[in-house]
């Protein structure tokens, strides 16, 4: 077995040192009839056999880069510079643990400090943590944090919030008996959330650009929330948008949660991704997750450590702000390396390219009869209403190697009016030829 360094001679000698007659003597606390059950599983395989088997599975999937590709809905196909993957595969980052021994983990810690600074800057907030599992779980944690701060039992979710994020938040809150008020699905960003906020509301959760791609002005809802003593939680699932758009912090958000996949992380069928979590300084001690802070060592040299851990499960146990332990360290590193390569200048240009690709795509598709673009504003994603079931259109186009977008029925299977909606994303990876192919195939399918 190529991963196991001990040989039989080692094993015999070690058993002798231990004073155990057999290896199973070390398992003698296990009930006899539970030891050595039978398994319906194969024995070990060589590296090339495994590669062949898994390669065959991979070949049954259609990669985003294999042709015209327009799927978004909370995960986006962006180019990742080669440098990013090289750095995250370095042993020292890849095979390290959570930095519990800071003297020999300054690499990870300084990267986290840079990450926290980048996230705070992008979101327009004062502090950020060292990452969450992903955007959706971050959203649930933000709602729990608002509940701790406000001591109120009701969360209000925008009808433009990604339904998976809404479901995750609902699961987290309803479990402990809280009320979750969900505005109806809101394709045109026309909902009046302010009217739904009451004195029991702990937080209002609004996504921008929303799940339909609309760019939302959070200012008015922030004001309305604050007037009623509630917090505004802003959700951003496409971080590249912040190269073009006002940050949620500028618009009055109290907590910003984001999905960082777009920057540095592969699509990977939904995970691992990296949740971004930022807030105001005054709420710092209510944050979930790890925080990296600056300090000095015994010689007075600057260094970094995990800090404020009295919030956390390993110290505070049942009084912790969250049960989170592992986060998304390596994905946060990928985010940070990519962000460092981009810089503000690169991010702004990348955002402009995305917006341009989306505008071109929308123009080409809206020229197809039976297709209506519903957005008045958008960044790199927008929603179409088709004259027929969007799921069927997506399947028809997929059969011709065009991945057309997310059909409404996939995200809202129980909402009949969503059936004909198609959410289309276009990033810098989309070419003029891709757009033309998409428009032509869509025309045929409708």
């Amino acid at each position: 077995m190529r991963y196991l360094p001990l040989n039989d001679a080692d094993r015999r000698e070690m058993l002798k040192t231990i004073g155990a007659p057999t290896i199973d003597a070390l398992f003698d606390d296990v009930p006899d009839d539970a030891l050595h059950p039978s398994f319906e599983l194969p024995d070990h395989k060589s590296e090339f056999e495994v590669e062949r088997m898994l390669g065959a599975m991979a070949a049954k999937n259609r990669a985003a880069g294999a042709g015209p590709f327009f799927i978004g809905g909370g995960a986006y196909k962006h180019h990742i510079p080669a440098t990013v993957d090289h750095i995250i595969q370095r042993s020292e980052f890849l095979t390290a643990y959570t930095p519990y021994q800071p003297e020999i983990a300054q690499g990870t810690l300084q990267c986290l400090f840079e990450f926290q600074t980048q996230v705070a800057a992008l979101t327009g907030m004062e502090v950020a943590n060292a990452s969450m599992y992903d955007g959706s779980t971050g959203c649930g944690e933000a709602a729990l944090m608002a509940r701790r701060i406000k001591k109120r039992g009701k969360a209000l979710l925008s009808g433009g919030l990604h339904p998976h994020y809404a479901a995750v938040t609902r699961t987290a809150l309803e479990l402990i008996g809280d009320h979750v008020a969900q505005a109806p699905i809101d394709v045109n960003a026309s909902e009046d959330l302010a009217a739904m906020i009451d004195d029991e509301t702990s937080c209002v959760i609004v996504q921008t650009p929303d799940v339909f791609g609309n760019v939302r002005d959070l200012g008015p809802v922030a004001e309305a929330a604050h007037e009623k003593g509630a917090l505004l939680i802003a959700v951003v699932t496409e971080m590249v948008s912040l190269g073009a758009l006002k940050s949620p912090g500028e618009m009055g958000a109290d907590i910003v949660v984001g999905e960082g996949q777009s920057i540095g992380n592969a699509l990977s069928f939904g995970g691992p991704y990296v949740g971004l979590f930022a807030t105001r300084q005054k709420y710092m001690r209510q944050m979930p997750g790890r925080l990296c802070g600056e300090t000095v060592d015994a010689e007075g040299k600057r260094g970094f450590v995990l800090t404020l851990s009295t919030r956390e499960q390993h110290i505070r146990r049942d009084k912790a702000t969250s049960n989170i332990c592992t986060n998304s360290g390596l994905c946060a590193l990928a985010f940070t390396v990519h962000m460092t390569l981009l810089g503000e200048a690169g991010l702004r240009r990348l955002a402009a390219l995305n917006h341009e690709a989306a505008c071109k795509t929308a123009d080409a598709l809206s020229a197809v009869s039976g297709v209506e673009v519903l957005n008045t504003s958008y960044f790199n994603e927008f929603t179409l209403r088709l004259s027929k079931n969007a799921g069927e259109v997506v399947d028809a186009l997929a059969a011709q190697d065009v991945l057309a977008g997310v059909p409404g029925g996939r995200l809202w299977p129980d909402v009949p009016e969503a059936e004909n909606l198609l959410i289309v994303a276009a990033t810098e990876c989309v070419t003029d030829e891709d757009i033309a192919t998409f428009a032509a195939k869509l025309r045929e399918a409708i």
Partner: protein, 526 residues
């Protein structure tokens, strides 16, 4: 002096100078590195992107006006910055990383290679099912392996990490109790004093009150104390097995029976599954739910703190309450069941408690874990567990010459010591751990579990060779002897050879600085 033909000296000379202060502060291969914000160009970039035409603006008037304030570095600068930082990290690829309860085993590179195949890495989670059949097949295969290895009939794949898996298990328990109409009555969860902090935190996050059960003098759950706490207000018990003292809970079946007898459920924390994978099926022991850490037992990399992956297996009793989404095979194709309503229709997970995360879980980790399992096979998984237990017992047997094991028994996959051997030396567990750093080892888990004074929990895993273990044991024995000989100052000063000396954690917490901020304008104007 010996010279080569160019006159360059080729012999080391014997002049010894200690504590040379360099101009740069660098120490040869250890290079000091500022933050990107301190040397990066705030107008620079390390990517070449085409010029946008800039003809259309449909941003709804919400265009960014303010600067973001992020520097960009060229590719060589970026590379050098992060490579220098990487060299300040210890890692499993460099040497033993014996953090107890963390299972720092070798991360095979085949895992990484396969996870990067475009069919996996470049696959969108909302791609039509017809375009993702291989991915769904992989999830289904991995689910089969996990169910078979644990002897449990169902598994939820979506939890993102171990603690998320715990949450998954406890949510299912909560849902099951509510379905019985006992949600208001069964409000307590039991967990031993020795439990991971995530256990009580998870139970609390589900709205349960947590009652601690003491651990007996042998390091196992005090069965009598447990029985006293069993009432009809108990929703369940959370037990780690093998436990955090590195011992197998001998009374595991009696514990399971006792909790079932009062109508509660048995949650097993599977963090230590590496000790028994391929040897024991938890399903044979009365477990109702258990998470598996793919980043521990199944070799996916820890990445400096994540990502993890925490699939959670369920008994028949809890399976109906498992979360969405899940994969089914129907009419010759794999399909995802993504909502509670859809789950009701399929009949599987008919009372699902809902969704825990966007999309379908940590696919990148699933690929790596399945590659690991296929590579090992069930024979290799069993051998790995045996070697992990053998290595831990070898360390226990060798170190007890100078250090004090917390309990008399042999151990499972990790060896636990207390700080008794340091008594009256003035040296504490943390000093001992920091001295290990200078010897080139990552310290063990310290001060956990809480039931042992000054705990040192060593989990070598199966990835260590005997040669490496012998060096590790020799070094620790020598440190223990030095400690007893009264070399206090050296221990208090350790580490001295790491990129940083001991860091002031108190100062960090008292006045938290969590981000870089630009220097004040007055200074900047200079």
């Amino acid at each position: 002096m010996t010279m080569n033909t160019q006159g360059r000296p080729t012999r080391a000379n014997d002049v010894m100078v200690s504590n040379v202060k360099t101009f740069t502060g660098n120490k040869a291969l250890q290079i000091e590195e500022p933050l990107i914000f301190e040397f990066g160009d705030f107008h620079g970039t390390g990517v070449d992107l085409p010029e946008p035409e800039g003809k259309t603006d449909r941003l709804g008037g919400l265009n960014r006006q303010a600067a973001v304030g992020l520097p960009g570095l060229s590719e060589p600068e970026t590379m050098r910055h992060y490579v220098r930082l990487s060299q300040k990290n210890y890692a499993i690829d460099m040497g033993p990383f014996p953090l107890g309860s963390c299972t720092m085993k070798h991360n095979p590179r085949l895992n990484e290679k396969i996870a990067r195949l475009p069919g996996f890495a470049d696959l969108h989670p909302l791609a039509p099912e017809s375009a993702a059949q291989g991915a769904l097949e992989l999830i289904d295969r991995l689910a089969f392996w996990l169910k078979e290895l644990t002897g449990m009939p169902a598994v939820a794949m979506s939890p993102k990490a171990g603690a998320h898996g715990e949450l998954c298990g406890m949510m299912a328990i909560k849902a099951a109790i509510s379905a019985r109409g006992e949600g208001d009555k069964r409000t307590h969860v039991l967990a031993p004093d020795s439990a991971h902090g995530t256990n009580p935190a998870t139970a609390a996050q589900c709205g349960f009150k947590v009652d601690s059960i003491p651990v007996d003098s042998g390091g196992r759950i005090d069965h009598e104390a447990l029985v006293e706490k069993l009432t009809d207000e108990v929703a369940g018990i959370m037990v780690t097995n093998p436990n955090t003292c590195g011992l197998f809970e001998r009374d595991i079946r009696a514990i399971a029976d006792a909790i079932h007898d009062v109508g509660g459920y048995f949650y097993c924390d599977g963090a230590n599954f590496n000790a028994i994978a391929g040897k024991v099926k938890p399903g044979d022991l009365g477990v109702d739910a258990m998470h598996l850490n793919l980043h521990k037992t199944f070799s996916t990399p820890h990445g400096g703190g994540g990502p993890g992956s925490g699939p959670t297996v369920f008994s028949e009793a809890l399976a109906p309450f498992a979360p969405v989404p899940y994969v089914v095979f129907e009419d010759g194709a794999f399909r995802l069941v993504e909502t509670r309503r859809a789950a009701k229709k399929t009949g599987q997970c008919a009372q699902s408690f809902g969704r825990m995360t966007a999309f379908h879980g940590q696919m990148g980790m699933f690929v790596r874990a399945l590659v690991y399992m296929k590579s090992h096979g069930v024979d290799g998984v069993r051998q790995a567990a045996e070697d992990a237990v053998l290595n831990a017992n070898y360390v226990l047997a060798r170190l007890k010459a100078e250090m004090t094991p917390a309990f008399k028994d042999h151990c499972m996959h990790e060896a636990l010591f207390d700080d008794h051997f340091l008594k009256d030396t003035g040296i504490e567990t943390i000093d001992f751990a920091k001295a290990m750093i200078d010897e080139g080892f990552h310290p063990m888990t310290m001060y956990f579990p809480l039931v042992v004074h000054g705990a040192m929990l060593i989990e070598p895993t199966e990835s260590e060779s005997k040669r490496e273990l012998d060096l590790f044991c020799d070094a620790l024995l020598s440190l223990a002897k030095r400690a007893k000989s009264g070399d206090v100052d050296a221990f208090k000063a350790a580490p001295v050879y790491a990129p940083r000396r001991r860091l002031d954690e108190t100062a960090a917490a008292r006045r938290p600085v969590l981000r870089w901020t630009p220097p004040a304008p007055a200074e900047a104007a200079e």
